[in-house]
């Protein structure tokens, strides 16, 4: 879809409709010169999480009539409340995107209650009925792309040992680890995935040490869930291991070692949000989607990926894209302590909210959540 062609007139029309709606107390007012605030926890060109969001913000900047204000390196503390307030009071922002997990509760919730007429869209939070109606949480089921990475990794690994460098044991990270491990087991039922938690989102030295430790254990394909995968990708490639990327496409960093990767597609989603607002539609407070909804995507396969791996991965990808979808987390799933975490017979599909509370590592993952 080409969002670049939304004209100022369309936005004005949409804005007028919205203003009417707001007068009736239904929706916040978006004028034609809407200012949108983006808040990043790290640097917006980190080759990772923040860069993916900044690419989405850049897509909005191209739409006439929209002004985008950005602030990076805002910690997940009271600081984000101050940033939100200054974006609202000084820049006149009416739509805010605090993009880091830790911003949601209590910081963004507090601000959404304080400014009930403005719209807050948080990436990764778990919106519930108790939360303010002008706040929303959106996220992508990037575990679908991780599952594809896992399949490719499972075929490529010679030792059957895969590695995962992770930041913190929160549900979204655990879900990615589990999806990757399950994908790998699809390719090689004996494959194990060893996880190391570094403790924070951006710890380059620790990430490099974790990468080296995993490779010392015989791991030959690695992926990660940290803010900037650059350190892991480069250090793994130097040791001769293969990698699957995360957040954005890191293949330029290690063209020979890069197999595939799980990427965000915010540059498709954010203009969609703005279009919905301009058209007077309500963005669902709880907005989710995966490969099919074009919120996540996979990197093109690297040269080291075998034909067999490509075929299997493409088959599964087609299932994700099909109308009926595909459940990664199937009934009867056992965690790595032997406990059944999903009752037999109930597949947990993409949108199952139980998956967003994930606190276990599945069978085949070496590591612990605490």
């Amino acid at each position: 879809m080409d969002f670049g062609r939304i004209s100022r007139r369309h936005l004005l029309q949409g804005g007028a409709a919205l203003t009417l709606g707001a007068a009736a107390g239904a929706r916040p007012a978006f004028a034609a010169d809407t200012t949108i605030g983006f808040i990043y926890v790290g640097s917006r060109d980190d080759y990772g999480y923040n860069q993916a969001h900044a690419q989405g913000a850049a897509a909005l900047k191209k739409i006439p009539g929209l002004k985008v204000v950005e602030e990076e390196k805002v910690p997940e503390t009271d600081a984000v409340e101050k940033t939100i307030e200054s974006m609202i009071n000084l820049d006149g922002a009416t739509l805010l995107f605090p993009t880091s997990f830790g911003y949601y509760n209590p910081h963004m919730i507090k601000m959404a209650n304080k400014f009930p007429k403005l719209r807050f869209e948080h990436c990764g939070g778990l919106w519930s009925d108790k939360d303010p109606k002008n706040a929303g949480s959106y996220f992508g089921y990037i575990d679908e792309a991780q599952y594809i990475s896992g399949i490719v990794a499972g075929y490529t690994s010679k030792t059957g040992k895969l590695g995962f460098v992770a930041a913190k044991p929160i549900p979204q990270v655990l879900r990615n680890i589990n999806a990757f491990a399950l994908g790998a087991k699809l390719a090689n039922p004996k494959a194990t995935t060893q996880v190391i938690f570094t403790g924070d989102w951006s710890m380059p030295v620790k990430e490099a040490e974790a990468t080296n430790s995993l490779i010392d254990q015989g791991v030959d394909v690695l992926t990660c869930h940290v803010d900037g995968p650059k350190t892991m990708v480069e250090n793994a490639a130097r040791r001769g291991a293969m990698v699957c990327g995360y957040h954005v496409n890191q293949s330029p960093l290690a063209p020979k070692a890069y197999l595939t990767g799980a990427e965000w597609n915010w540059e498709a989603l954010y203009p969609k949000f703005v279009k919905m607002i301009a058209a007077g539609e309500i963005i669902p407070n709880f907005y989710r989607g995966g490969l099919k909804e074009e919120i996540v995507k996979t990197s093109p396969y690297g040269e080291a990926v075998s034909a067999e791996a490509r075929k299997h991965a493409d088959e599964v990808k087609a299932k994700f894209l099909s109308a009926e979808g595909y459940a990664i987390f199937k009934g009867g799933q056992v965690d790595n302590k032997g406990k059944t975490v999903i009752p037999a017979g109930t597949d947990r599909g993409q949108k199952d909210p139980e998956l967003e509370k994930m606190d276990y590592l599945v069978e085949g993952v070496i590591g612990a959540t605490s």
Partner: protein, 308 residues
């Protein structure tokens, strides 16, 4: 073993590898700060110097294609920042600690600003020397891939130790640090000695930064230092202003940084936050053990603003 794993041996090997890989920035910054503090001044700005060094090394290596030119650029940047610190501190009634904090913020801020376009490109890295050729175990070989900067740092520690004790320059620096009156009475400019000592300190800290961006972890990003410069400054006090102790302390810190991930990789998964905090716990413990309220720190230069 058949599957290429070395099991529990990973832990000591990772600590050894970590000591070699992670310690170099600590070593250079602490040796540099050791020279500066021995002359009677504290330069807390070395965190900023380290980050500026990392950024300028990466930038110059990327633009020129020669990582060694990058190392040189990092050193020069560091020396200039050192000169700035010393210059400001030469003015009457200027507190060197406050200037250091200002320069720390200035250095990191400037590096982030200038370094924006450098996050994406990949610069040529410094080569490693393979000291593990004798081993068939790939893990040992990987742990023993040593960078020349590490060797220079290791050699520098005893050289500095010797130079402080036996050379004219060492004596002058120590005199300026112990009693500025004595140095003046000898006909030397204390400010000039401190300027040079701070510039050399900055030069070394800049080179420490180049190791971060050009060898390990080996790329430029804003989280690169994560406080290593400040830790290294604290390390000097912890090492009692002795270059040889700086070397051991740096190695211990490097090894401790590798402990958390290594333990997780062999299955010790509980309390990894605690293991990740190992270097800081080590600092606190040694500080508490060696401090006494009854006397000043042994080895502390008398002119230092924290001991005066």
């Amino acid at each position: 073993m058949a599957d290429g794993s070395i099991g529990l041996w990973t832990v000591p090997l990772a600590v050894l590898g970590g000591a070699i890989r992670v310690s170099t920035p600590f070593l250079f910054v602490s040796l540099g700060e050791c020279i500066t503090e021995r002359s009677g001044r504290i330069n807390l700005g070395l965190e900023g110097t380290l980050v500026m060094g990392a950024m300028s090394a990466y930038g110059i290596s990327y633009l020129s294609g020669s990582p060694w030119l990058g190392v040189l650029a990092a050193g020069i940047t560091g020396a200039l920042l050192g000169a700035l610190h010393a210059g400001i501190c030469s003015l009457p009634r200027v507190n060197d600690v406050a200037v250091g904090i200002a320069l720390m913020l200035f250095g990191t801020g400037l590096a982030f600003y200038l370094g924006k376009p450098l996050i994406e490109p990949t610069a040529p890295r410094l080569p490693a020397i393979d000291f593990g050729w004798w081993s068939d175990v790939p893990q040992v070989r990987a742990a023993l891939r040593v960078n020349v900067l590490f060797l220079i740092g290791v050699a520098l520690a005893p050289i500095l130790y010797w130079a402080f004790r036996t050379t004219r320059w060492g004596l002058l620096i120590r005199t300026a640090g112990e009693s500025s009156d004595a140095a003046r009475a000898m006909g030397h400019s204390v400010l000039l000695i401190r300027l040079r000592a701070t510039m050399v300190g900055g030069f070394l800290a800049g080179i420490g930064g180049s190791f971060l961006s050009l060898f390990y972890p080996g790329s430029w990003n804003e989280g690169l230092s994560s406080g290593q410069g400040i830790t290294a400054v604290a390390l000097v006090i912890f090492a009692r202003w002795d270059p040889l102790l700086c070397l051991w302390a740096s190695l211990a810190f490097g090894g401790a940084a590798a402990l958390g991930p290594a333990l997780q990789s062999v299955g010790v998964t509980s309390g990894y936050h605690l293991f990740n905090a190992a270097p800081y716990i080590l600092t606190l413990a040694i500080m508490i053990i060696t401090c006494s309220p009854k006397r000043t720190l042994t080895g502390a230069p008398a002119e230092l603003s924290i001991t005066r």
